[in-house]
């Protein structure tokens, strides 16, 4: 079976509601498996919107979104939610964690919704908890004292690392990070990215990384300027 692309977008159009202007119109976008991509664009240009379409949380108004060979916009709503939990890990900008869950429960949260990721996480014979600990250790978060603290007491950098472990658990094929470093200082940013890259490499995950911070750009092998691929102007 030939390896399909990680992401393939064709003639994508999107508007939030009828009556609102179109936000996205992308003729084609292709991402190969294992690629690390930096996506930039002005605020309000539609970066987060694009990610929501890729994740199948929102449906395109026109065109197709293919992820790992699956046309997600053709799936049922439950099917899309299921697909997302199986194949995509998310890291957001801030406050990524469920406040009432422990560090451990936050990291293993995706496995509550995806049996596939639970199986993958425990494939090595480890328990789910042991796998979570392994990931946390890789991210320099294995300190027992930290793990048992309420997540709201963790520093922002620590919270982002817990969120990263959550995105990585069960080795989803695609990791989507929406400005995960904007709340970190520049030194922390480097450390964080380094850890993220290392983990993606280990699992062979494709990384989509959205940021305003052009200082980070050079660390990625491919860059996409959303304003350039978004052909809105031409239709207006």
């Amino acid at each position: 079976m030939p390896q399909t692309a990680a992401i393939e977008v064709k003639d994508l159009r999107f508007r939030w509601r009828t009556g609102l202007p179109e936000v996205l119109r992308i003729t084609s976008l292709e991402v190969a498996r294992g690629e690390r991509i930096f996506i930039r664009g002005a605020s309000g240009s539609g970066k987060s919107t694009l990610l929501a379409l890729l994740a199948g949380v929102n449906l395109p108004t026109g065109g197709d979104v293919e992820i790992l060979g699956e046309t997600v916009n053709r799936l049922s709503s439950a099917g899309r939610d299921h697909f997302r939990s199986d194949h995509i890990g998310f890291i957001f900008q801030l406050f990524n964690l469920i406040p009432y869950l422990s560090v451990m429960d936050n990291v293993t949260l995706p496995c509550r919704f995806s049996r596939l990721r639970k199986e993958k996480a425990t494939a090595s014979g480890n328990s789910l908890q042991a796998e979570a600990m392994r990931l946390l250790a890789h991210l320099d978060m294995a300190d027992e004292a930290l793990i048992h603290r309420p997540v709201v007491e963790l520093s922002v950098g620590q919270q982002q690392r817990v969120a990263t472990a959550r995105a990585l658990i069960g080795a989803p094929e695609i990791i989507i990070a929406d400005e995960p470093t904007s709340a970190l200082d520049s030194e922390m940013r480097q450390v964080f990215l380094h850890l993220l890259f290392q983990e993606c490499e280990e699992t062979g995950s494709t990384l989509l990384f959205v940021s305003h911070d052009r200082q980070l750009e050079h660390l990625f092998e491919r860059h996409i300027a959303l304003d350039e691929i978004n052909r809105l102007e031409q239709v207006v």
């Binding site: 987060s48 990610l51 929501a52 994740a55 949380v57 929102n58 709503s77 439950a78 939610d81 299921h82 997302r84 939990s85 199986d86 998310f90 957001f92 900008q93 406050f95 990524n96 964690l97 469920i98 406040p99 009432y100 869950l101 429960d105 949260l109 995706p110 509550r112 919704f113 995806s114 959550r166």
Partner: protein
């Protein structure tokens, strides 16, 4: 279920607010069930007052009035029945037994009832239970008395003690029949009915203490001693009411009509069951009002849940976006929020039951001794289960309101995180 365990953790995280809401639900449920149990038991004890009697007969007045004075010893008869009329119907071919009742005197606030020994044979209460003796036996002589259980208990009377009967009812009666004391020869077992608060003496005793009385006053100079009175004819001239047991229930309406149509004296015969029902209907207005108030208290508790959940919803939109990103469906979000409400109410209901039983356990003896009402600590009745199911269902519906809002939010927000 994964989502419900999340709901539980979320609740534990907000345990202070959650426990306040829980307390309000528990208290309201305990109150509701307590009132219901009190209602049912008082109704039962009410219906248990008299049993096995087919007709209650008195002078013509209202059915409820007749029942009140003859069975509940409340109020007074407007008129008496002549001994002749009583005799006639007691010898009626369809009548199996009769119990004459003569009221009007009292002993330290307790009614004194003149009757005969048939009372101890035929009077039945609750589920056809006969009277039984705690101590002693029925009276045999004129100046003997049998006490209801409460009378003996409250006044600390013993067997063989002599008591004096006061003329008229009420505690403040000053004219005493102190020249003719009665000797206690029996104390009845408790019945939970007005029998417990009655002093029973023979009809002849009532007659004897009144031999030197005319028109409610003691005649001056006409002092007839207790022994002299025994020489006289002590057959009563009138009684207050009588209870009738028939040979066959089928004859009830026939005998009732015969008594009501009796030419020589205006009489009234009522079926105790029917009269009790009428009396209860009168009381049940207040009872229903009480039930409605407690239902409202439960509603207030549920609205408390709703308020707390709706208030927290907005600050939880971020949490929902995160859950969506890890694959939660909007339906999961609905389940999470509704499940929280449902968990709160179910725990609240369980705590309410616990409170009810604790309350019953503590108050049972008090209520029994002070109000003569026995509240059994049994499993919830079918009606009580229904009430609980109703409360649970309302809680589910109440929980669906914030649940549905969260569902709408999570559809609209998707993964975009909003504060």
């Amino acid at each position: 279920m994964a989502i419900l365990s999340l709901a539980l953790k979320s609740l534990l995280n907000r345990r202070f607010t959650a426990s306040l809401v829980l307390l309000s639900i528990a208290l309201s449920v305990a109150l509701l069930l307590g009132v219901e149990r009190l209602r049912v038991e008082s109704r039962n004890s009410f219906a248990n007052t008299i049993s096995g009697t087919d007709l209650v007969v008195g002078a013509r007045s209202g059915a409820i009035n007749l029942l009140l004075y003859s069975v509940f010893r409340i109020g007074d008869a407007t008129n008496n029945i002549s001994w002749k009329s009583y005799k006639k119907f007691s010898e009626h071919s369809l009548v199996k037994w009769t119990i004459p009742i003569s009221l009007g005197d009292s002993h330290r606030g307790y009614r004194v009832m003149g009757t005969n020994r048939d009372y101890f044979r035929f009077y039945k209460y609750a589920n056809k239970r006969s009277l039984s003796f705690h101590q002693g036996r029925p009276f045999e002589e004129v100046y003997q008395a049998v006490l209801g259980h409460e009378v003996a208990g409250e006044l600390d009377y013993r067997m063989g003690q002599e008591i004096v009967i006061a003329h008229g009812a009420g505690k403040t009666s000053f004219t005493l029949h102190d020249d003719k004391p009665f000797k206690v020869v029996g104390i009845l077992e408790p019945t939970g009915t007005p029998v417990d608060r009655t002093v029973h003496v023979p009809l002849e005793g009532i007659e004897a203490i009144h031999v030197d009385w005319v028109a409610g006053r003691q005649v001056r100079g006409l002092n007839i001693s207790a022994d002299e009175a025994l020489e006289k004819d002590l057959t009563p001239k009138a009684i207050t009411a009588f209870l009738v047991g028939l040979k066959s229930k089928i004859a009830t309406f026939r005998v009732q009509r015969e008594i009501n149509d009796y030419r020589k004296e205006p009489l009234l015969a009522v079926l105790p069951g029917v009269a009790l029902q009428q009396l209860w209907d009168l009381i049940s207005v207040a009872e229903n009002a009480l039930l409605i108030i407690t239902l409202l208290v439960v509603a207030v508790g549920l609205i408390g849940i709703l308020t707390v959940m709706l208030a927290s919803l907005n600050e939880r939109r971020r949490e929902m976006a995160i859950l969506r990103s890890v694959g939660a469906r909007p339906g999961h979000i609905l389940l999470l929020v509704t499940g929280e409400g449902l968990l709160l109410s179910l725990i609240g209901i369980a705590a309410g039951l616990l409170l009810l039983y604790a309350g019953l356990f503590l108050a049972q003896t008090y209520i029994e001794t002070h109000y003569g009402l026995h509240l059994p600590i049994g499993l919830p009745s079918l009606r009580e289960w229904l009430i609980l199911v109703l409360v649970g269902t309302s809680a589910l519906i109440v929980g669906l309101i914030p649940g549905y809002r969260a569902y709408r939010y999570s559809l609209a927000d998707g993964m975009s995180i909003r504060i």
